[in-house]
């Protein structure tokens, strides 16, 4: 059952990822990204990380992709000249993709070396919320603080960026 679910969700997620990359229409791409995130959230559930699944949906699907959709719709960049891909770009990116896929295949077929036996799972620690809290407020307290500052700075940055400045010349 679990195996079947994994393969189902994996195929779905990968398909949606292809959709993000290959779609002409940016709205379609954003919706594909949303579905892809839902797939990953369900993979998190399979991995017993319920909290992270909920957070992923809340932050990513609920806010980030919604923002993307917002901007895509507001800018409405359907117009403009569609230039064909340059040969070099296409070639280079395909080669990169191929190389990475080779890496993926090697990962998949790696002989599992004792460290993580597939059958015997460790006890799921990610299900208990208290564990997260303890770790966040002891070992990772400094990163949490830094994250707070980062968010503050990002907020200020966005406010400054989205303000219109008068008398600034256009960069040509």
């Amino acid at each position: 059952m679990s195996d079947f679910l994994f393969y189902l969700i994996a195929v779905f997620t990968a398909g949606c990822a292809v959709g993000v990359v290959a779609n002409k229409n940016a709205v379609n791409a954003a919706m594909c990204l949303m579905l892809c995130l839902m797939g990953i959230a369900s993979l998190f559930v399979l991995l017993d990380a319920y909290l992270l699944a909920a957070l992923l949906v809340l932050v990513y699907a609920g806010a980030v992709v919604a923002l993307f959709l917002f901007i895509v719709m507001l800018l409405d960049m359907q117009g403009g000249v569609k230039r064909p891909f340059r040969k070099m770009t296409a070639l280079a990116s395909t080669v990169a993709l191929a190389l990475m896929l080779v890496g993926v295949c090697m990962l998949r077929n790696r002989v599992s070396g004792g460290a993580a036996p597939t059958a015997a799972l460790a006890a799921p620690v990610g299900t208990v919320l208290k564990n997260y809290a303890e770790l966040l407020f002891t070992t990772y307290l400094l990163p949490v603080q830094i994250m707070g500052f980062l968010l503050l700075i990002a907020m200020l940055g966005v406010i400054v960026l989205s303000k219109k400045f008068e008398g600034m010349e256009d960069i040509k």
């Binding site: 909920a54 809340l58 806010a63 959709l69 507001l74 919320l129």
Partner: protein, 387 residues
Amino acid sequence: MLDFFFHWPLWAQSAVKGLAVIAVLFPFAAACSMAERKICAWIQGRPGPNRTIVPWLAWIPVIAPFLQRLGLFQLAADGGKFVFKEDPIPGHVNKLYFVLAPILAMIPALTTVTIVPFGAYFNQAGQLVPLVLANVDIGLLAVFAISSLGVYSVILAGWASNSKYPFLGSIRASAQLISYELSMTLSVLPVFLWINKPGGAGTLSLFAAVEAQSGQGLHFDSLWLGIWMPVSAFIFLVALFAETNRQPFDMAESEADLVGGFHTEYGAFKWSLFFVAEYAHMIVGSGVFTLMFLGGWNPLPGLPLAAVVHGLEHWISWASHPAFMGVLGVLIFLGKVAFFIFFFMWVRWTLPRFRYDQIMKLGWQKLLPLAIGNLIFYALLIALIDR
């Protein structure tokens, strides 16, 4: 009693649960639309719908006229109208997303119900077990996560309609949804700080929230959180109004300046899906509010359901039977939810709509600082109490 159910395969159980959600929530939403008509009629000094009758029922002498005067069949007439009307798809719309949007509106509305507990009973071992479809540890966070997906239906409906007013309406509505989500989340943090105070459960589940209000007698632990944290309850309530797009905040519709908001171009069944989704959101929102701030299925502060049942055992021997207790709990819970739905409608037919700038100002400049201040205050207070 229900053992046979738990022996079924998982997919069958899930399917039954899913059908149950639909079978319960749709009539509830329809009943809400009925209640809305009646209440708005009473407030405006009218009798409300009281004419509809099914032909072959009209022959029953006393009951049929009574039901007719109550207007109960208006539900069926409305529903039938939505199903049988012509379902137009205007030209120049993005067909895929135009059809997808109302369906997307239903998904969060129907999914969140599974996480909301609606009653409790004692099992054989004497433990209190919640009546809930999926008792997850991250309860409230899951509700927030799923309901945050509701913004997609609004955005997509407005955009796919390919028309100015729906688009403006959807932009406004989704900005409003995102803005008030913040205050809403911040307002419930004190509640869970209190529940998870040192020695507490370490959970976000709504059942735990009710248990924290189930103390007996008049002391601190038995207070309903709405009394103990009125500011949180207030902020949550206001944000709930905004999140469900109800009257003083119904920027999504604002028919005076935007024709009909994001669903201007919709008709018939697709429109009714938006409509049902709004009521389903309202029901779930009221349920969450009741669970967190009004003691869930406990009848009175300081008088939990368990105490009532044990008290009744002196007179009625089967009072602590799971079925009786479950039904009692569900009835008390539904009573509170019904009051809140009434409150939603009462407010709707009392207040005019806010202007858009007022809404944004209220959300960002008043509610958000208030929520942050409230959080800090209760964090300090709980720390002091626990020392």
